[in-house]
């Protein structure tokens, strides 16, 4: 029993340690300078000095958040639309469009957005939004089309209107699957936002790219570590929420 207790607590402890480390790093990077110093050559700075890591982290997260919220709203709305009787004509097409869309590399979407809206945060947001739509739409579609038939039948039989069925039964039931889509979307967005700094968006990619350009491994490493830690933590957090909602309904978790 004791061993099981330690095993159960270990992941939470690791998570907590990672969060503390991450916060310490972005707020007080100076503390970690001695660790990174050996990676620099000819007395280059060991800590990124063209902007605060904290600001870049927050900007990075803000970009991802805005894009994900917009993508979630649009993707779920579209998935609802094509699963209602009025929009069912679009269902097969929307499926193939998602398949096609997924073959577009995020970098290509990012680069192609530049001619349309110019440099800066905008093309990054557009790329994040467009690319983030796909996994959410796909999962929402899966969720809404694979509801247990007898539950939907029971909802109809109880006299729920179409809207009531959607809000009270169909959406809550597909929530875990939709959350899974959001999780995938966020992870892709975190990565794409990093590349966004090549089109002049202010994100953590700036640190990595500055390191690559000036051959400063310390920059590359600190940028990479922060982004990686953010991605792992957010992925993990969203998985936990997903598992919780699924378990409450007695669903198997993938």
């Amino acid at each position: 029993m004791k061993e099981a207790g330690v095993k159960a607590w270990l992941p939470s402890l690791l998570r907590l340690a990672l969060v503390v480390l991450l916060i310490a790093f972005v707020t007080n990077p100076g503390w970690f300078e001695p660790l990174l110093k050996p990676l620099t050559e000819s007395n280059a700075p060991a800590i990124y000095n063209q902007g605060s890591l904290l600001t870049l982290t927050l900007l990075h997260l803000r970009t991802v958040l805005i894009a994900t919220v917009a993508a979630t709203i649009v993707a779920v709305a579209l998935a609802i639309l094509v699963t209602r009787p009025a929009g069912v004509e679009f269902l097969p097409l929307s499926r193939s469009l998602v398949n096609i869309g997924q073959t577009f590399p995020p970098v290509a979407v990012l680069a192609l957005a530049v001619p349309a809206v110019g440099f800066g945060e905008k093309p990054t947001l557009i790329a994040l939004f467009l690319y983030g739509l796909l996994p959410i739409f796909e999962n929402a579609l899966t969720g809404l089309t694979t509801l247990p038939a007898n539950v939907v039948e029971a909802a109809r039989g109880a006299g729920m209107t179409g809207w009531q069925r959607l809000v009270k039964v169909e959406l809550p039931l597909s929530a875990p699957i939709i959350l899974g889509g959001i999780r995938l979307s966020v992870v892709i967005s975190l990565a794409t936002a990093t590349i966004g700094s090549t089109v002049a968006a202010r994100t953590l990619g700036e640190v990595i790219i500055a390191g690559l350009l000036s051959n400063n491994l310390a920059f590359v490493l600190q940028g990479g570590l922060i982004v990686a830690a953010l991605a792992v933590l957010i992925y993990d957090g969203l998985s936990t929420i997903e598992r919780y909602t699924a378990r409450r309904m007695g669903q198997e978790t993938a």
Partner: protein
């Protein structure tokens, strides 16, 4: 009273339900029996308009069931299905409260009703109310499914293979519970099943359907004694007939005067179970006792065998 008049349902070229007419008396249980694909479920679903008929009329207490929007009609009719269809994201109490909430009952009235139904179904409201469906056993889930269907005090309850997913022992208990509750509330029940045993046991009247048509609609004893067609005959099962017939009656109605040795049989046991008990014990007769434990007389193998013969 439910009047079904010339109801048909066609999908393109196939006729699923073909010109069915029947009347279900209030406060009775009508069981619709048939093989799969006989149209029995479609017929049931046309009563609460989950399926819209192609032709014909269904009247509930004289009113055409199309005089209300479908969803309002369905709120006034109980509906329980196989595999219960409980909402997995809502607690047991919230599940039972579904239709009352849709109807806009006030919170106190909903709580009262939910507690009443849960107590009736031997589920402690304190313990089970806040649980989620997947935390219950199959039998408990089924009971919650029926409680949900009865929550808004409907006069009519439609049931589609409600006991189909239960194992035999729990199924018997669920059937007895339903009979007791039907007596208590006086609900009119229409129950769809493929199990003739269940039909004979539960139904005041049995409707046999085959290939969309209503083949016979009669009391169980009549269905057993005078099957209207070869199909009904097969469905009834030739070798089972005498035992099914016996299962309709209670020992109380087969009591003969006199005494007998052995363990007494309660008067409300079915005659079929009594015969089984007699054969197993190897005695020609056993004593019968009433609900109060007083001896009423005896029941004999010979007497029961006579009752099992084709009625004339």
């Amino acid at each position: 009273m439910i009047e079904i008049e010339g109801i048909s349902k066609r999908y393109d070229a196939t006729t699923v339900v073909d010109d069915v007419s029947m009347v279900i008396e209030p406060r009775t249980i009508a069981v619709i029996v048939g093989t799969s694909g006989s149209g029995k479920t479609t017929l049931l679903r046309m009563i609460n308009r989950l399926v819209e008929p192609t032709a014909g009329v269904i009247r509930l207490d004289g009113a055409d069931n199309r005089s209300l929007p479908g969803y309002e009609l369905r709120r006034s009719i109980g509906y329980a299905i196989q595999g219960h269809g409980l909402f997995p994201h809502r607690t047991v109490a919230q599940n039972i409260a579904t239709v009352p909430v849709l109807l806009g009952w006030d919170a106190a009235r909903i709580k009262r009703r939910v507690d009443e139904l849960m107590t009736l179904y031997q589920l402690d409201p304190q313990a089970f109310g806040p649980r989620y469906p997947h935390e219950l056993s199959g039998g408990q889930q089924q009971r919650v499914g029926v409680a949900r269907a009865l929550a808004a005090e409907p006069n009519v309850l439609l049931m589609d293979e409600p006991f189909g997913a239960l194992d035999p022992i729990i199924r018997n208990k669920a059937q007895e519970d339903l009979l007791a509750i039907q007596k208590r509330f006086g609900t009119t029940i229409i129950l769809v099943t493929h199990d003739m045993e269940e039909a004979v046991h539960m139904g005041d009247k049995i409707a046999v359907m085959d290939a969309g048509k209503l083949v016979q609609y009669a009391r169980p004893a009549e269905i057993l004694a005078k099957p209207a067609s070869a199909f009904v005959e097969t469905l009834v099962g030739a070798s089972e007939k005498p035992f099914r017939l016996l299962s309709l009656g209670r020992v109380r109605d087969a009591v003969e005067t006199g005494a007998a040795e052995g363990e007494a049989i309660p008067a409300d046991t079915s005659q079929r179970d009594a015969l089984a008990e007699l054969l197993w014990s190897g005695r020609p007769a056993l004593p019968v006792t009433g609900a109060d434990g007083k001896p009423l007389g005896r029941v004999t193998v010979d007497g029961l065998v006579k009752r099992a013969a084709r009625p004339t």
